[in-house]
Symmetry: C2
Subunit: 334 residues, 2 copies
């Protein structure tokens, strides 16, 4: 659990895209972001107040989050000075970089001396149990994709926001680094040891109110041979009541796997639903989330209508047209 709110460290980001993690926090949990810290030459700007460490501290920030990725995911010497000063100022540090904070002896030494925490969100910090498959109270929704990186996290976050706006009970449950930094909590599922994957998902989505929805962040795809085991653990550990099918229609092949064609939405529906019903016989496919970023608005509208007619399920692009239709579909299942 990472203490909020954050000061977002953008470092010397070469462009806006390099600050994608910080942008995610700013977009999805603005209440967690009191300000941004930019070094000389920083080309990213989140439109948040620029703050010194002392100003951010005075404004209530508890954790400096490294919201920027640089080449190779390393912690540069230029950053080090700021990170050390932040620890001395009383901030915890949080990072999703490959280069772990805990592998930097100077940061470890200062953190120990000052009693501050170093959060490497790529590394599990909990001894997860083996899944027991016992039915839990409350409802759970999982987005499953025809491929990796088709918008599953965005879909869950957008639905969570819309549900809260409607007064529905909802919690976004992060299963990847960006999601964990956005919310301050979650399970870095791709770094969990195989035997404990499904148990980690059970741990993440415990008993809850009967009308509460856990919006579980999806990972990988049942059809992506590199990561399908992680997806499987989400389906069986998550016991979803509702699946959202996620698809990006312009991919020439599975991400990183030339020669592997994407499955159809029908194949995804049939395969995922059958497997999900092992853990939860009441599971239904609720709706379809389409990522139309590479289509014009007219093309997108026509494509969405075609998918709805073909699949007999509500469909939309939540980024382009909002998540209302997807939440309507969930609400009908409640």
């Amino acid at each position: 659990m990472i203490e909020t709110p954050y000061l977002l460290f953008l470092g010397d980001a070469p462009d806006q895209l390099a600050a994608k993690v910080a942008q995610g926090i700013r977009d999805w949990r603005p209440e967690n972001a009191v300000g941004q810290f930019r070094m000389e030459g920083c080309k990213a700007d989140l439109g948040l107040p620029d703050m010194s460490l002392a100003e951010a501290k005075a404004a209530g920030a508890k954790t400096l989050v490294i919201g920027v990725a640089n080449r190779g995911g390393v912690i540069s010497p230029a950053w080090k000075k700021v990170l050390v000063a932040a620890l001395e100022e009383g901030f915890d540090l949080a990072s999703g970089l490959h280069n772990l904070l805990r592998d930097e002896p100077d940061l470890v030494a200062v953190a120990e001396a000052t009693g501050r925490a170093l959060h490497d969100v790529r590394v599990p910090e909990v001894d997860y149990p083996i899944a027991n498959g016992v039915k839990r109270r409350g409802k759970r929704c999982l987005a499953v994709g025809t491929d990796c990186s088709v918008g599953k996290m965005y879909t869950a976050l957008a639905m969570d926001r819309e549900m809260k706006a409607r007064g529905m009970k909802s919690t976004f449950r992060a299963t990847g680094q960006t999601g964990i930094l956005i919310t301050g909590d979650g399970v870095p599922l791709d770094a969990v040891v195989a035997d404990f994957m499904a148990g980690a998902v059970e741990w993440l989505t415990p008993d809850n109110d009967d009308d509460h929805w856990d919006m579980i962040e999806g990972q990988g795809s049942l059809f992506h041979v590199s990561y399908s085991g992680v997806t499987m653990a989400l389906i069986h550990g998550g016991q979803p009541d509702a699946l959202i099918l996620a698809h990006e229609p312009t991919r020439p092949h599975m991400r990183g796997l030339p020669g592997y064609e994407l499955p159809t939405l029908e194949e995804l529906r049939d395969t995922a639903l059958k497997l999900a019903r092992v853990a939860n016989p009441a599971c239904e496919v609720a709706a379809i989330s389409l990522n139309t970023q590479h289509m014009s608005e007219d093309e997108a509208t026509a494509y969405i209508a075609e998918v709805e007619a073909r699949m007999g399920l509500p469909a939309t692009d939540p980024y382009r047209f909002g998540a209302g239709k997807l939440v309507d579909a969930l609400a009908r299942l409640s």
Copy 2:
């Protein structure tokens, strides 16, 4: 890679069952077992020559394998003296216990001083790659079960032996602790980090002769919610050309999961084959391995005949009736 042949350490095993791992080595790789080492009070006997450390050394043994499990999987003080003496005598040590050899400071110190290796086969020793899904040469066979512990390892070992006896090219590929100790090599798949599971299976079953079969040890079940992610990684990382369906017909529920019914063989066939064809469109279900240990011989024979007729596939219990029929089925696919 554990150096063979072995001296099998049975310690103070309270009964024959406690020496199950040693029995597996003796049954499946007798050429790896030069003798047994028994302490006072040992109630297990593999029918191998009892040897002192010096005698085993003279007979060519390279590694002392802890072939016995005691309560809690711990390394008892009584054992410690023998293990230290073995290192000093020039043996490596290998163990599949929960209590790791490397967590015992005295063993670590002696191993370092003598230059010997401590093999904890529960712990991956390789940085496995992320799976790339590239089609590999040679053929692969994987047993998939309706449940855990239905005889998948036994099936693969028995088929491997029969194939070698016929002069076919075959390698048993271990994916669990017992299998690794039996063969001296393999991947402890349930201990691999999620992102690398399928890559570890690819690593374990590399390019080979066109007429060579990797007999991959199965794990878990697609229908067992605790471990299904591991099974999924075997199916996609292993790219099997042939699946063997494995089933134990008297289970009241899934192992460790009261309330979860076993799937039918038809459900297993349809689900596993569809998923396997993502990685290898040519995959076929070759045959069915039935574990009839809780049936009389007449019941077993009748049940096997019923399954063969219903499923239209060759079926047998390889423990009871030999693996010949299963290998015949593979040979027809070659």
